[in-house]
Amino acid sequence: MHIVMFSTPVMDVDPDGALKPIGYDASRECPPYGTYLLATRLRLFGHEVTVPDLIADGSDSVSKYLHELSSASLVGISATTLSWPTALAVIKQIREFRPDVPIVLGGVHPSSFPTHILANSSADYVICGEGEISMPMLVEALENGKKLHHIPGLVWRSENGQIFRGDPNSRLDARFLSSAPPPDYSLIPRNAYKGLSIESSRGCNFNCSFCAATYRRLWVPLAAESFVDNLVSLLTHIEGTSLELVYIIDDEFSQDPVRCIRIAEEIQSRGLHPKLTYDSRVNDILNEPFIEHMRPYTQQILVGAECGYEEGLKKIGKGTDLHSIERAAALLAKHGLSQVTDFSFIIGLPWETLEDVNKTLEFSMMLLSTYGVRILLQWYLQIPGSRLWDRYRQNESVHEKMFDQYGFFRNLYLFRIGNRLKPSEIWDISKAVHSAKVLSRLRFPEKQMIEHSLPLSIYEGFPKHESISKYSNQSSITPQNIGGTQNDSRKAKKL
């Protein structure tokens, strides 16, 4: 069977009204792991698979791929919540060209809302969760006219519009992940990406309240040797990338620091020199041998610190404390890794007052000035999948439909519903952080040490302070009285 598998970039309308990739997909860091992984697996089953990589294209247009689509027997589209509007645009274009071809969706967002998505798009199937087993089974069922009910994680719409759900999808185990072939990156456009993506584990043992990772409370690792085997395979294609970086896309690479040490030893014994970027946790970094062993291969570390006060860390369920966060920063500095480490903090969490946010700001600035680590300050926004989202969804404050349109992360309602701070306070915080950003260059001229942005929803919805009175007498803010996503106002405004 000929299968065409689309990746979908995260996009938004720019100030001039043009649709462009944003964030991670604007800088094209690394290819979409899941799409290339599934394509490789389907080829092993003897299928012809083409991967129109719209992230590499930086576009939502399928017009370049009409030839491939004309002979496709099945189209697969992978999407996250952030790229879901792009996926909808891609589905629409495919339907105009091929009303007959079956479309199967996968990825975090379709997995979270399969019935909503099938009821509101012209896709035919959703595979919820991991697709390595279910996707080949679906292809076989479609080829041979078999029944679908036994396919794990499959949700589908019948010809009469009814939606059915197959058997539940169970997690793949460590043995499966360790023996599965890695993605074949031979077809990736040359220099389209800064590096290549690889996984060493899936899931996370924790269950932080803000986190929307698909698999929480269960971490499944590849064996260290298997991971390094896959790394060797990946490195044969690394020359085709612009910076030759290796992105370990795990939710939590260092969950088992002893395994990481084995990985580092294996890398060394095979004489490899990968430039690794990965996420870690404070408590893992406190295992000093882990840092010592990983140091030669570490290009970038992202540490989720999240809060600068104890009560906030407890509410998140982070499983760490301020003392440990500071000790981790000190250890990274001791081993010369502070310059390549970003500590990430969330501000504006649903319970946070201005005083709480200031505690986080002050703590993060202390880490920067004392240990020389970079600081990422990010405003909280409700995105499906987390415990916090579930709470708001239960009381019907939010709905998955709110993520169907481009620019939902600029949606003022969505921002305000999870945030207690006044817009004037958010403006003040942004100005203060801006000053800190500039002053930090007096000591660290080489690099921007603080990343932070005033939320665009606040910029557009409450421009400076003068507009606050316009809204201050309203008892509640709803999508209706705010106007929801504000593409039009954004087009009209030059930043």
Binding site: S27, L302, S369, Q382, E446, E451
Partner: protein, 111 residues
Amino acid sequence: MTQERQKNYDVISKNNLSRLLKKVLHDSEFRKSLESNPKRTLLSEGIDISDASVLSYLQSSLRPTDEALLADGQVKKIFAVASGASILAAVSTPAFSKGEEQGEAIYDKKV
């Protein structure tokens, strides 16, 4: 690091940076004063900036324009979101200049 860059690295000490960051977070009057006259304001804190390029940088950067406030939308966690790991949001579009992205110092040219 070149000698010139090393010199700039030493523009202020670790302790002074720590003190300044704390102050700009909590003291809006101090921020306003910095915006209008960075040299005098820093001097009042015992920090004498004499390098013309550093002063020029401070004068042109401390007053926050809309562009500057919105400029750092390159939020790394968007990667985590894209891979299904987290829920943080990118709030604006990336706007690093090439130089910034590559870690190029912004005021290390001799004046």
